[in-house]
Structures are given as structure tokens and as C-alpha cells.
Amino acid sequence: MIKGELAAIVGINGIGKSTLLRTLGNFQPKISGSILIEGKDLSTYNEIQLASKISVVLTESIASKNLSIYELLALGRQPYTNWLGKLTDDDISIINNSIDLLELEPFLDKKCFQLSDGQLQRVLIARALIQNTDIILLDEPTTHLDLYHKVQILKLLKTIAHKTNKVILFTSHEIELAIQLCDKMLILDGRENAFDEPCKLIENKNFDTLFPKDTISFDANTGSFRIKK
């Protein structure tokens, strides 16, 4: 992947989307192959170096629901703060930038449990942004959201990737939305595992075999799936 791109990992349940993402994020050991960041292997980075390269938004919920939103956001600066975690003026202006970008101003004094799923998702994305890494990995950032908020989150990710020149990679079941919004897509099907721009993937008929053909077929003209009756 190159900088400034939004990419989605799609595939059927259990094919290993999250596993791939978790391996990329160094949460679990890789089985084979190598992961390179800027030409260097993942294992050559230590914990702090990695924390300034990769930030994550996970499916697991926040451990302490009593955390206030501002505190949560400020934790994103941890890899850069001193041993006490004191925020410098630079840290605070980075935090404030992300607050403006994601319009989080009204939530700052609220606690995590007071926010809706969609609002919390925006807060978690802001936290990842505040960590100021080149790479952001998101595991199913749009689950539990309605269509409007799904589109909102994905459009936001696209804007961020293009504006701030970041690599943003997420797993998703929203194939149709991803086709419309992503720069690149990785289709995990256990055979080719094609990675390309969505239109090229459509041309190569990579989506056609994603689901069993007798149940769901892919319409290349509209870029959507049809249920076989």
C-alpha cells in the first residue's frame, strides 16, 4: 500500500479478515510471510516505535466505560508524552485538531457509557488520529451503525487518508459501500486474494466468486450483489 490510500479487506465470515488485521497490528504472531513497514520488518520495531507507526480501532469495547472522552482522546498521545504522561502544548493542539475534524466538541466532558455506538466510533477514530501514525488499522469500524452513519464514517476515513496522507486499512462486510468509497480493496477468498482498485477487481470478475453463485450473484454494472430467487 502507498500513503494517502483508503483500503478495505473484505471476504466471507471466518476467512481471516480480522486475523490478518491483528497480525498486521502485531497483536498476534504471524504464521508465515513477512510484514514490512517502510521496507523494514515489523519485528525490528520496538513497542514504542511501533506505537508511533500504527494506531488501531478494535472491535473490543473500552475497558473502563467511566473514562471521559477527553481523557480517552488524550491517551492517544501516550507514545510521545513523558513518564508521567504530561501533555505539552503541541499535544493539546494535536488533540484539538482532531476534535474539530471529527466534531467531538459537545462530547468532551461526557463519559464513554453516555455515548451512542456511532459517536463512540468517531471518538475512537479521533483517538487513533491523535496517535499521529502513518498507518491506521480498523477492525469492522461500521458494525452496529445504520447506513447513514456507515457512509459518514467511511467518507470520513477517506477524507482523512487523502488529506493527511495516511494509510488506512479496515475490515468490513460492507462490500458495496467499499466498492464506491475505497481506493483499493483486498478480497480474501482463500484462492487469489486479489488486491487492486475496485473497478479493476470488478473487471477481473473477482467479486463474482466471493459468495456461492447459486445464492448470491454480483452485478458488475451497478457494483452490487443480487439474491438469486
Binding site: G25, E47, Q49, V56, L58, L67, E71, G76, Q78
Partner: protein, 342 residues
Amino acid sequence: MSKQSTYSFHFITLLAVLLLCFVINICLGSVNISFIKTIQALFGTVTEDSSYYIIWEYRLPKAITAILVGGGLSLSGLLMQTLFRNPLAGPYVLGISSGASLGAALLIMGTSLFSGVFTFSTFNDIYLAIASSLGSFLVLSLVLLVAAKVKDTMALLIIGLMFGSITAAIVSVLSYFSKAEKLQQYIFWSFGSLGNLSWMQLLIIALCAITGIFLSIISIKPLNAFLLGENYAKSLGIGLKKSRYIIIVATGLLAGSITAFAGPIAFVGLAVPHISKQIFNTTDHKIQIPAVLCCGAILMLLCDTIAQLPGSVSVLPINAITSIFGAPVVIWLLVRKRKMIF
């Protein structure tokens, strides 16, 4: 975390309350000593009086013990609640209290069973302290050994509780076979006691407490990151294993030394972090560590003052007082807030 300065008022108030409780605690006791005399004795202007002896050899060590015990147990409770992401966790989850009980039970009741093997039939508080600290560190090191193998913190929590069940079972077996007077002696130990500590013993607790507090302070960043969950903490560059070890050792030192000398004091470690989180509306450990230390010390001084039954000769078991006066406070706080969110 942006609003640290606004809490200075809270801290000044807490410290003032702490000082007030400290003075009240020293002034009140089974023997009536007037306030003026107490102050005079404290500053050494009257030295020949019996009140000087009572205050310097009994009340002052007891009050300082209360501060150390309350602060230390509360801090270890806060550490455990953050590490295990569980509002019900306390120092006991690592098997520290149960290990100490096992040590004490083996010494008190075991010696009578194996009197042929062990010849010493009399023992004093020092032996008891040594036995219970050995017990708590034995169980703690077992838990640490397991912690090296188990990756999941929740599994560690359950393992700690299982160790507690095993030691409790051994204690039951011992008490079934021991004589009534030995059983009574053990039960008295389990009531907990803040008095009868020499300045030397106090020094040991103080050293352990200072080390524990120091370890907690260097863990402020990992502790705050743990509030997000372990995977997020890892993604923020926290060395999970190392931080977990430091936090467990800090808890062991704090709760282990206190339980060894003052007995298993219930409830304080569990309750105080909740009370202080109501006073200070933040989960930031930079604020919460000093806050639980103050709140714990205040609560313990108050409980000790009550247990002393000022003016009367009898002393209530401190363990009962901490629960009777502490538990309703937590219930009231939770009912008012209607939810318990860690």
C-alpha cells in the same frame, strides 16, 4: 487530564480532613487525655507524664499504622481494579489475604497439631507476622508463576481466587482439628488489629508502602492505558508483561506487608477507590493514586477511632468496623448513581 489544577481544592480539603482525623484519633482513646495535654505530649513539652507514654508508645504508632494501612490497602485495591478491569477486585484477588491467613493458621493451629515436631509452643506477634508474610508471599509468588504462563488477565483473576479457595479449605481443615483456645486465637488474629505495633514494625510497613507507592507512580502511564483495554495499551507502546509484573509486585508489597502486621483487614481496598472516584470525577491515575491514599487513610483513622470506643476500655475488632461503616457508604453511593461502571 486537562483539568488537573481544578482538583487542588479537593486535595487541600482532603489533607485538612486527614489532619483533623489524625488529631481526633490521637486525642480519643480508652484513657481520657485532654486535648491540651495531647498536644503538649506530641510536641514534647510534657515528658514525665503517663500521657506522654500513652501517646508516644501507643496512640501515635496506632494512628500512623491506620494511615499506612488505609492508604496502602486502598492503593492496592485501585491497582487491582485497573489491572483486572473489574470493580469488585481488591488486594485479596491475588490470594494475598488468604495466603497470610494460611501462614497464621499454620502457626497458631498447626503447631498444636504437630507439637511433637515443633518444640516451640509459645510465640509472639513477631512470629505471627513472619508466618503470615511468608504465607502471603508464597501464594503471591505462585500467582506470579502462573501469570508468566497465562496471557489472559481474566484467567489470572480466577486463578487468584482459586488459590484463595484452596488456602481457605486448608484453614478449615486445620480449624476442625485444633483446640478451642487455638481456634479462638486464630479468630482474634483474623479480626485485624492496628495497635500493638512497635516503631520498628511500623518502619518495615512504611518502607514497603513507600516502595509500593513508588512502583505505582512509575506505572501511571501503563495504568491509564489499561483503562482502554490490554490490546489498546499494547498499541500505545506499553510493554504488557513488564507493566503487569510491576503492578502485581506493588500490590504484593503493599497488601502483603500490611496483612502480615495488621491482619486481614477487609473491605477498605475494594471500597475506597469507588469513594475516591465519586469525589474526583476522573479515572486518571495521576489524580487517583494520591486521592485513594488520602481517602483510605481518612477512612481507616475514622474506623479506628470508632473501634476504640472512646472512654471505654474495650476495643472492637477493626475488621468488623471497616465493613459495618464502609459497606453502606458504597451501597449508598451506588444507589444514588444507579449504576456501577468501572
